[in-house]
């Protein structure tokens, strides 16, 4: 059994085999970890005044009971409704242990799955999964774009409406907006299936598939997805889908005449004006930002 990834944790809980103990002692790790354990053993937080905390709690519970007899004040109702909406923005419990997480427009959300696999959901995107039997059936449905760091275990599957991505333990980015499915593999091995096309990716390789046909593979050198560096990058993509991405990133509305122009380049997520410059300049286009929308001409 390969339990190296929990070694120090088990040292602390006294859950090591004799062989592991001997090895840790021989390498000097034992002493170093022990010192951290001893030191952190003496850390504490300021005392918590339980009694007065409970009295406060009691007081506000009593107030609530009385208040509920009165008519709900309209401002309150708005407050409650607003807080409900906020909650729903983060996650929904669905029947059968199903979870749904989404990142609102103009936000990025980090989420840990039960096995400590990490998903970073780009804005306007959503994932769904079932928590039941997660260890055996690790399947996530994705709408939009997300970055995954998968812990080793049973096959991990990301399903999109354009195809599915299957891995063992690795990190990779799936982008499923507009007409294409694009997958970048950062570590490990990734298999992408769309229609009857199958492509296996190794680190530094990416694939783009349109309508499940003609997979185009390419190499890349960045170590985290561009959108996590607050830029979006495009290689020969319709201007239309570039502007859709801009709308999601800045939560704005863009007005543009229908065009079949294609864009290669990037735009920043930190300044709308610079981003528009980056997109429009190459085409000699102008733009105008009004409170309601952005007009490109």
């Amino acid at each position: 059994m390969d339990n190296k990834d929990t070694l120090y944790a088990r040292m602390l809980s006294g859950d090591l085999s004799q062989k592991e103990v001997d090895e840790l002692k021989a390498s000097g790790e034992w002493e170093e970890i022990e010192k951290i354990i001893d030191f952190s053993d003496n850390l504490s937080l300021p005392a918590y005044d339980k009694k007065s905390a409970f009295d406060n709690l009691n007081a506000s519970l009593n107030k609530k009971t009385k208040a509920s007899v009165r008519k709900l004040n309209p401002v309150w109702v708005v407050g409650i409704a607003a807080s409900l909406i906020l909650l729903i923005g983060f996650f929904l419990f669905l029947p059968g242990g199903q979870y749904s997480f989404s990142a609102e427009y103009a936000t990025v959300m980090e989420h840990y799955l039960q096995d400590n696999s990490k998903v970073i959901i780009n804005d306007g995107s959503r994932i769904n999964y079932k928590s039941k039997n997660w260890a055996r059936n690790r399947t996530v449905q994705l709408t939009g774009e997300a970055f995954f760091e998968v812990e080793k275990g049973s096959p991990f599957v990301v399903e999109t409406d354009k195809g599915k991505v299957e891995v063992l333990g690795t990190s990779f980015n799936v982008r499923s907006w507009g007409e294409a499915l694009a997958v970048e593999c950062y570590t490990g091995k990734v298999q992408v299936t769309a229609g009857d096309q199958k492509v296996v990716l190794t680190p530094g390789l990416m694939v783009k598939m349109k309508d499940g046909e003609n997979p185009e593979t390419a190499t890349f050198e960045h170590t985290i997805p561009h959108w996590q560096n607050e830029v979006s990058r495009f290689a020969d993509e319709p201007l239309q889908s570039v502007l859709e991405e801009l709308e999601r990133q800045y939560n704005v509305q863009v007005d543009v005449v229908k065009t079949d122009k294609r864009f290669t380049g990037s735009f920043t997520h930190t300044s709308l004006e610079t981003a528009l410059d980056q997109i429009c300049k190459p085409f000699g286009l102008d733009f105008e930002i009004t409170p309601e929308k952005i007009r490109i001409y």
Binding site: L7, L43, S44, P46, K50, F90, Q114, D115
Partner: protein, 167 residues
């Protein structure tokens, strides 16, 4: 027979057993004791309002997930700096000033390194070190497997081990 959370005595016992630990949990994430204490109160109000629906055995994990959701709803997710108090370790001999100084230095660097840990590792590490919880308990409260908790703990300790090398 299971205990009834709606019964005042039961409710109070849950409070006295878990309130402080839930407070610490939110403190690890937020770095604000005032906020953490507020959220404990909010979480316990929710527990009271839903006492008929929450099973006694589930009350603990219910509190942690409510507190966590309340925390997530705080829009300002800023970088946190935690402050700890130090209990005096028991020593049999009077240590040399040189030794004391080195220990003090080490403690400072370790605290800085704890603060620099990713939130998920920091929370697991401190729940174990400060609240003295077993991995099983942490796993229940965070809705994770024990193995996942151990992995986070291992990652945290590997990261903190680097403190030794920066002398």
């Amino acid at each position: 027979m299971d205990k009834d959370v709606c019964e005042e005595k039961v409710y109070k016992s849950i409070f006295s057993e878990h309130a402080e630990k839930v407070r610490n949990f939110i403190y690890y994430k937020s770095g604000s004791l005032a906020l953490a204490e507020n959220m404990v109160q909010e979480a316990f109000i929710k527990l009271w309002e839903n006492c008929a629906k929450v099973d006694f055995t589930k009350a603990r994990s219910y509190l942690y997930s409510v507190a966590n959701n309340l925390f997530l709803n705080q829009v300002n997710h800023k970088k946190v700096v935690l402050k700890f108090e130090k209990n005096n370790p028991k020593v049999s001999e009077v240590p040399s000033p040189q030794f004391l100084l080195e220990e003090q230095e080490f403690g400072k660097r370790l605290e800085a390194a704890i603060n620099a840990l990713p939130e998920d590792q920091k929370v697991v590490f401190l729940m174990n070190r400060i609240d003295k919880k077993k991995y099983r308990e942490i796993a229940d409260e965070l809705n994770l497997s024990v193995k996942a908790v151990e992995k986070r703990m291992h990652k945290a300790l590997s990261e903190l081990r680097k403190v030794h090398k920066k002398v």
